[in-house]
Symmetry: C2
Subunit: 448 residues, 2 copies
């Protein structure tokens, strides 16, 4: 008899699995439930729609429900939300606008994603307070701001999404204030010295940034911190993401760190025949070996792929993450991979820090700009533990070389002698990442 | 007693060694002989001076003779050429404009570089025929062309330097013809399908390209092939580089492949207390294990560094090369690393070829352009053997990820699951290099 795979969640973690399972097993029946209107979209693109770089939310869609139906024979049902699961009886309870129905399954894949963190601040559930995680969230925001000029925008939290949205609203002509509880923006992403580069660039662009400041209340036209009250017609939450796992947890699927679903290397959950992928589940750090929660589209796609292979009778494993991320904020490109100083210290590593200033192209070549590379290297072994880059055009993607080197367990010396590419329009003869490694070698040799 | 290190050759391979040796051993006496006028310069920048992107040759100098003297206490002597070596007596014969003298040494470092290949074509030694390898060569060319409009330029050979110079002269308003003996330009660098992309771009820019055509004679105002005669006021040689090793060979230092100096992993030559680095010596391919001759500034710098450590009593080894190179030609960025199809076949590898078309940024993001990635993957092991990229802005430096992966011995599957960076201004959610690896996985699984 034909088996049915039920996929819950229509973005990357879900549809990557569905697509791979379909290709590998043409006779599998696949039903995918998505409570919103869209499938397989680039949530990372939302700030660029808000800021006007990209024309509409539709452009962010990689593959529409209709394409999944027509090309991959996947029964995608948008506007259908799974509200309960009975894993023993192998069925889900599904709710739409106007009815509730039961749907049986043999195999289950959970890709319920994440949602913006909303700490218990008075007023945080106000109508003008937006967490932007899905295209549906984005649509709500655009419906509110699309037609009118927003005077004052406050962003609560100085992480990626918050700062990208801050820049988007500056482009729209709003007055924008970022309020960050920590000493520096991007505090969970970058070390303070690298985060300061971003902060300076944001301020130069006209964004007001308050650090070391805690929001204590949100009113209909303002945000109040311990220090001041800032006018706010729209409030954006940039406090990170937490997993959407009520459905799974209530059905008895084991969750762990931050309430994310616990999975093994094959993306299998604690329940037989049930996989999970994406922002709803845990990952493993390849550097510390510890469980981590990472909500990124790249990870969701890879985990989805692994789940899809395993759900269709194959064998694939997801090795883990090392914490790579990049963005561009107010013309500054930044990137990170591996551990920051804070993370390295917490994990018990002893390390040296190498930091260099170089240029993105040969120094004499038109368009060359500054790039700073910071590298953490384990003291005894010389192994690269982490790196951060900040600089001009051509900076961000350089982090990939170090992500690859770290994954391979390379030492700073290995990096120095990598056969990396060079031509004047692209690089100095020692690529900046190698210059940082070379300096690290010197620091290691100075050890007692 | 103070030891004297004599360095012969003032560019990367020589001065990198001198600088490292100085830092490690402050009491070493270091004399560096350079027959030309310049030290430590970017020869790769010459086409950009010719084309007007960079103002003058002086800008290409990373460190002048005076800086070496003042800051590093290195006795740099420009215009001094070593014309003979007596390794037993430990002395060199040195010639300047107006005299010849003997100079003793304890340690010797050979960095005599390379010179443009000049096959025995009638007329190839004409005054208007230029091989451009050193800044002095470039000065001769600029002296000839600087003041006047050159009508017709012929480039013999379709390698990097030849094509870069072809583009430079198109920018200067000349009519430029490239004559290549092989079926495609960049034939030693790229597979024909990738080389064709470059050829198309060159032609679109107005450069005439003749392939499968052999030059049989060079006259004072034309170049003659087996098919035709092309007018030529200036002829440029783009036939590659060969090592400058007469001095070393006559002194009894063993040379090998293509007459390059044979060195061990520490850059030591066959002669006691004598190292070599850069375009005058061999390298080892990390992929095939075979000896190769690679004339690149990046390699020269690394080998020089290794020689400098070893000449100053330390221990360093140069692991080898994998053949990474990039350039930009008529707006097309290209890169390669590892082996091409021809090289893989010659080395006896059985492989699958994965080739994908993607975009440099998220497809919907302004400025996204096409990028093609071709990947060679060993059939049984899944190991990545080589890769080539061609495309829009943001293409070339992506080759570094694969250079790192190949060096680490990664498989296509390893590359698929690398934690590479993603943000819409920089990449699709699956970076193009990972998309190519993913396709390769599919091809491997289809194997019989």
């Amino acid at each position: 008899m034909t088996q049915r795979l039920l996929v819950i969640g229509g973005d990357a973690g879900g549809m990557a699995a569905a697509a791979v399972a379909r290709r590998r097993k043409p006779d599998l029946e696949i039903v995918a439930l998505e409570k919103g209107r869209w499938t397989s979209y680039s949530a990372c693109g939302i700030p660029y729609v808000v800021g006007g770089d990209v024309r509409s939310l539709d452009q962010l869609v990689a593959r529409s429900p209709q394409e999944f139906r027509d090309k991959l024979m996947i029964d995608v049902r948008t506007g259908h939300e799974a509200v309960a699961l009975d894993l023993d009886a192998r069925r889900a309870e599904v709710r739409t606008n106007d009815r509730t129905y039961r749907l049986g399954f043999d195999l289950l894949h959970l890709a319920t994603g994440g949602k913006p963190r909303r700490p218990p601040i008075p007023g945080i559930d106000g109508k003008h307070v937006h967490g932007v995680q899905t295209l549906d969230d984005a649509q709500v925001l655009l419906d509110e701001v699309g037609s009118r000029q927003i005077q004052n925008v406050v962003v609560v939290g100085g992480g990626y999404i918050g700062l990208e949205l801050a820049e988007a609203f500056i482009k729209r002509g709003s007055k924008v204030t970022v309020i960050e509880r920590g000493p520096e923006v991007m505090g969970r992403t970058l070390d303070p010295d690298m985060g300061a580069v971003v902060c300076t660039a944001m301020r130069r662009q006209g964004i007001t940034v308050y650090t070391d400041e805690k929001v204590v209340g949100i009113e209909s036209d303002s945000v109040t911190t311990e220090q001041r009250t800032v006018p706010a017609d729209v409030v954006l939450l940039g406090l990170g993401v937490e997993p959407n796992t009520d459905l799974a947890a209530e059905a008895g699927v084991v969750t762990g760190l931050a309430r994310a679903i616990v999975v093994d290397r094959r993306q299998k959950t604690s329940a037989e025949g049930v996989c999970a992928a994406g922002d709803c589940c845990e990952s493993r750090s390849l550097i510390t070996g510890q469980t981590v929660y990472v909500a990124l589209g790249t990870v969701a796609n890879k985990q989805g792929r692994v789940a899809g292979v395993n759900l269709s009778g194959g064998y694939a494993t997801f090795p883990g993450v090392i914490g790579t991320a990049i963005t561009r904020l107010c013309s500054v490109e930044i990137g990170r991979t591996g551990v920051t100083e804070a993370e390295a210290t917490e994990a018990g590593f002893e390390y040296v820090v190498s930091k260099i200033d170089s240029t993105t192209r040969a120094g004499y070549f038109p368009g060359a700009g500054p790039i700073a590379v910071k590298m953490l290297v384990e003291r005894r072994t010389g192994r690269v533990l982490g790196a951060q880059v900040a600089g001009f055009e051509g900076t961000a993607k350089r982090i990939d070389v170090l992500a690859t080197a770290i994954t391979a367990g390379m030492t700073a010396e290995d990096v120095v002698y990598l056969d990396l590419s060079y031509a004047p329009p692209f690089s100095p003869v020692w690529d900046p990442v190698q210059a940082a490694a070379r300096l690290a070698l010197g620091l290691l040799q100075d050890r007692g």
